[in-house]
Symmetry: C2
Subunit: 327 residues, 2 copies
């Protein structure tokens, strides 16, 4: 199934089913008013949602309208928890190599992740107001999962079975603020403003073979101001989403609707490019001896879209955002 | 005004007004079903809530029942954000001195804080299931504030004006897990299980002169298994709540109902004792040359209550919790 949330002035938006071909949507108010409610009542509503989805795809559902990304909020405009890992070790290793910083302890064997703000997510085409160009404004293309309730101390297999939806994420980052916050040991706070999401959240079966081993095996195409920037593949993730969720749930439960992100998608092959500017900059430093690329300016745009392959677009829709000065 | 939230099977509980003397409560369903809703609609409902509160205190409100802490959830059983600072520098300085760790950069001038899970708070008398005694189970007595919406880049004065309620907090901590998580730079995650709250959240005016300079000038009395453990005063907080909120809102808005904590209350005077075991342990290491106190065991109890002075109890009620093995 494919879901989106239309902006309707409420904090959670209005749930709609999105047709498999992405052309049209239909609300299902009798089943769930918003996606968070559907996730919270998943076992009770999923069968009926599936019936409606099948009818939508067969052209047999009443009240459909055209899909418009601009009308969409994030699939979950707010969620109980937002946890973001750094599960592509290549990215971390590049950072360490470029800046000659001490290695993160156990980085290759124990996932690292931070807790981010989950009360104010951005929609796929929302402008991104940020306080200053001096903060090192950067995008981060990621994949993520939305879970049903994960009990405390769940195993990786148990946690993976709690995955309800897969999402595509732009984890906005302020690079000038990150290193100081890392040095405090308390983690990112100012360095991580509101996170944005592609419009469509999908059940794992929509990904077919691209969802296996608890990973999203799809390239994430990133363009900055219209130029191709990278297309790293999510399959290189060093920890599965099951392992990441189990780490997160070690001493707490994750309530239904919690979201866990992969961290910026990153591939060992330089040909894949990067899903964030910071990584391109460290590659320039390592390969060329100097950083040549600056961070984003007000008015800059970023576009992100996962694809199955060159011919087939992914199911998440497109993130297309512009950085702006606060009004 | 004084508020509590009765457990009623819903995620946000049922809002009740608590009489100033703490003896009785009354629901106000016509004004707000739960406290989060009241905070979100504060300007619209606060005058009518004040009228009901005045009537409750005058004995003129219908439908009152006796106040029972055990019936209470946290005042906000879940909230949009939970941010916890370390605003008593004495605590951090003791930690550094005892373990000879490198100083946190700018620790005395820029607040440090982590983002915690805000989807699953514990009530004042809720048992605390934790996975292992080997994790270094510890309490942390704190004060905190609940805010209306704080806009991005608010000043300290603007942010302080957004404070709606003051709360008393037990920020459960797993000390064996904290140092490794700090070294990753990504901050606390496993080291910070669900946080607990005293039953009553109060508007700042209920504190009288004890609320000034954006601080709670009250001793927080902490007892561990019935023995007095410490009574440090919140007035020694090195950053005001306004400064802490402004730091948190530097690159994000805080939506209405967000909670910011002070970090463990800590005083320079050794006579004040401590509000967490970790601090007593480092004082033992510094003053006695060896750590003598262990962390909590399953079955252990902690009690926390702020007081105006020796004669007068504070308005927040009592946190009285027991650590247990998960069922």
């Amino acid at each position: 199934m494919k879901f989106a949330s239309l902006k309707n002035g409420t904090p959670d938006g209005q749930l709609v089913l999105v047709s498999r071909d992405g052309s049209c949507v239909a609300a299902v108010p009798d089943l769930a008013g918003n996606l968070l409610e559907a996730i919270q009542r998943w076992d009770a509503v999923a069968p009926a949602l599936q019936q409606c989805y099948d009818a939508l795809n067969a052209g047999n559902l009443q009240g459909t309208t055209a899909f418009q990304a601009a009308a969409c909020a994030a699939p979950l405009p707010r969620s109980p928890q937002w946890l973001d890992a750094s599960a592509f070790l290549n990215h971390g290793h590049l950072m360490e190599q470029a800046f000659n910083t001490p290695p993160i302890p156990d980085f290759d064997t124990i996932p690292v992740m931070y807790q981010g703000a989950s009360d104010d997510f951005l929609g796929p085409e929302d402008d991104v107001p940020l306080p200053s160009e001096d903060d090192g404004i950067d995008f981060e293309g990621e994949f993520g999962v939305v879970v049903g309730e994960v009990p405390m101390s769940a195993t990786a297999a148990q946690a993976l079975a709690c995955v309800r939806l897969v999402v595509q994420i732009n984890d906005w980052s302020l690079r000038a603020l990150g290193p100081r916050e890392m040095k405090t040991g308390f983690g990112f706070l100012q360095a991580k403003p509101s996170t944005a999401f592609a419009p469509v959240a999908v059940t794992p079966d929509e990904l077919g073979d691209a969802w296996r081993d608890g990973r999203v095996h799809m390239p994430l195409h990133v363009q900055w101001n219209g130029e191709q920037f990278g297309q790293p593949n999510g399959g290189e993730m060093n920890f599965s989403f099951g392992a990441l969720l189990a780490h997160a749930a070690r001493s707490r439960k994750l309530t239904a609707g919690s979201i866990l992100g992969s961290g910026t998608v990153s591939n060992v092959s330089r040909a894949a490019g990067s899903a964030c500017i910071a990584e391109r900059r460290v590659i320039e430093k390592i390969d060329l001896g100097e950083i040549r690329t600056g961070f984003m300016r007000f008015g800059d745009r970023v576009r992100m879209q996962a694809r199955f392959d060159d011919e087939r677009e992914g199911p998440f829709g497109v993130i297309e955002q512009r950085v702006v000065q606060p009004s």
